[in-house]
Amino acid sequence: MAVINYDSELRRAGAHSTRGWRKFAFLAQRHLLGAVGLVIMVLFVLAALLADFIGRYDPLSVDSLHRLAAPSAQHWLGTDSFGRDVWSRIVHGARISLAVGVGSTLLGSSIGVIVGLASGYLSGWVDLVFQRVTDILQALPLLVLALVMTAALGPSLPNVIIAIAIPLIPTVARVIRANTLALRELPFIEAAKSIGMSETRIALRHVLPNTLAPLIVLATAQLGSTILTEASLSFLGLGIPEPYPSWGRMLSESAAEYVRTAPWLVIFPGIAISLAVFGTNLFGDALRDILDPRQRG
């Protein structure tokens, strides 16, 4: 059956308590990598939240006396060509990455859900039009589309979020539409019709909640690629404008000039990006495995 109940799946898989800590213990036991991913994600969220406390320095303050300082006790990860502390910039950069990642994933998913539901539930010409537009959007790679969008909208945080969100819509819409098509044929939808519910109410109350499990998996998986896209955009000079610290921009500023003389300027932002993407992908994969009965042994 197409319908998946997250709690019951967990329970069937052996987690008898629905309490958070027990759930995590179960996750660590059955999906070690997923638990690692979750821990990485939590660490990044904490870094973003506590950036002002753990950052040690103002990420924007210039210190001409300590330009390009190597990692040391004062500057854990060294300083860049303006003498700005790399550790502080990375920790504050987590805010940008998370804001863009979560913001664009939420925005893209919400619109995708609406399009997918309408497309799958109404079918007919609505479906036809939506699907063809989706095809066109999907024919272009995420980054290329985001590049064109930011170039057109101009670089700013909201614009970057919108630019990355729009290319996400087709993927989400596809998944939701496929699920909706399967759900539509189930008797409980017919039962809802036979008690006289309106189509909109059926779509929102009966179809939508049953598409949430695959949506959560998809959104988690997308989170990594949105962080990566933001970094790429910033690297190409179209992301978050200066002077805000964005991992991608930190890379692009230093990659060509200082990669030999001050490699920490390239290595640490690179590690931050890789870890964030790695963490979300691990967690997304584990979620998919847990929610998909066919993946279980």
Binding site: M1, V3, N5, S8, L186, P187, F188, E190, A191, A192, K193, S194, I195, G196, M197, S198, R201, H206, P209, N210
Partner: protein
């Protein structure tokens, strides 16, 4: 029972589905799912409907509930023609007719509590909210043999039989005049089947509504029905009072169907089956009598003309040319 104004009157119901193929989705054929079905269900009566898979039983059920739009024909409920009711009128009218489905696992939303599922119709029609709704749902739970403290549970926490009880409670919630049961016990264990059937009978005695009871299990139909209709390839071939039909089947198909019921007696010799082969495709149903390809008594006339339901005794109608339209004695 049938002499008074019937609760449900179905006249010449036809439902054809287009078979589309090719790039342009052109119509390449027609499935004759229901091909001219007429019958009535009286107040407080149970009409059993039997037939093989794919003979159109479920399509009849869904057409009556307007879950599929009939191609032609008319459906009257309480004397009112509901065949062409608009959306708003139909919504109001859905209170008088409800359905219980075959699969109790797929007919309950897995993300809603049992209480919400049963109470939802009350909210949709604005009949009860808050405490009043909870009380009404508790009462319905009690009627179908569930405990009120199970209202907070989710469908996966119930057994198949209990789930079907939830479906019954949902159907009851609006106080319908007609409940269409589309193979309500086929998916259940035999021991549970009897419980659910008896519950359905009890509820009918208490509330006086009618059932259109669709099944392929003759024993179940014999137990619950007052009258029985036999369907074959989208048509009713025989309809009569239960005792009459089982004692004195006239249509060769009905006879074959009754003869195929297994008897729990190992010494009894198995008779040569009265019927063989498969049901022909409803995409190109045979000309004349649809049963002529499998009938042992087939005559030349059967291949050309289509027999219509004709009286073959008191309250007994059969569609067969044998014995001047009275079927095989």
């Amino acid at each position: 029972m049938t002499d008074a104004t019937p609760l449900l009157e179905v006249t010449d119901l036809i439902k054809h589905y287009a078979v589309r193929g090719g790039v342009l989705r052109r119509r390449v054929g027609t499935v004759h799912a229901v091909d001219g079905v007429s019958f009535t269900v009286g107040v407080g009566e149970t009409l059993g409907m039997v037939g093989e898979s794919g003979c159109g039983k479920s399509t009849v059920a869904r057409s009556i509930l307007r879950l599929v739009e009939p191609t032609s024909g008319s459906i009257h409920l309480n004397g009112l023609d509901i065949t062409h009711l608009g959306k708003a009128d139909l919504r109001e009218h859905r209170r008088s007719m409800q359905i219980i489905f075959q699969d109790p696992f797929a007919s309950l939303n897995p993300r809603m509590t049992a209480g919400d599922i049963v109470g939802e119709p009350l909210s949709v029609h604005g009949l009860a909210t808050g405490r009043a709704r909870d009380e009404r749902v508790a009462e319905l739970f009690d009627q179908v043999g569930l405990r009120a403290d199970q209202m907070q549970n989710y469908p996966h926490q119930f057994s198949g039989g209990q789930r079907q009880r939830i479906c019954i409670a949902r159907a009851l919630s609006l106080g319908p005049d007609l409940i269409v049961c589309d193979e309500p016990v086929s998916a259940l264990d035999v021991s549970i089947q009897a419980q659910v059937i008896n519950l359905l009978i009890d509820l009918q005695r208490r509330h006086g509504f009618s059932y259109l009871f669709i099944a392929h299990d003759l024993a179940v139909v014999a137990h619950i029905s007052h009258r029985v209709a036999v369907m074959y390839l989208g048509r009713i071939v025989e309809i009569a009072d239960k005792t009459e039909l089982f004692a004195n089947p006239r249509h060769p198909y009905t006879q074959a169907l009754l003869a195929s019921v297994p008897v729990a007696d190992p010494k009894k010799k198995t008779l040569k089956p009265l019927i063989d082969g498969d049901v022909p495709s409803p995409i190109n149903p045979p000309s004349g009598c649809a049963f002529h390809t499998r009938c042992r008594y087939v005559m030349e006339r059967c291949r050309i003309e289509t027999p219509v339901l004709a009286d073959a005794g008191t309250k007994h109608q059969v569609a067969c040319f044998l014995n001047e339209g009275t079927g095989r004695a």
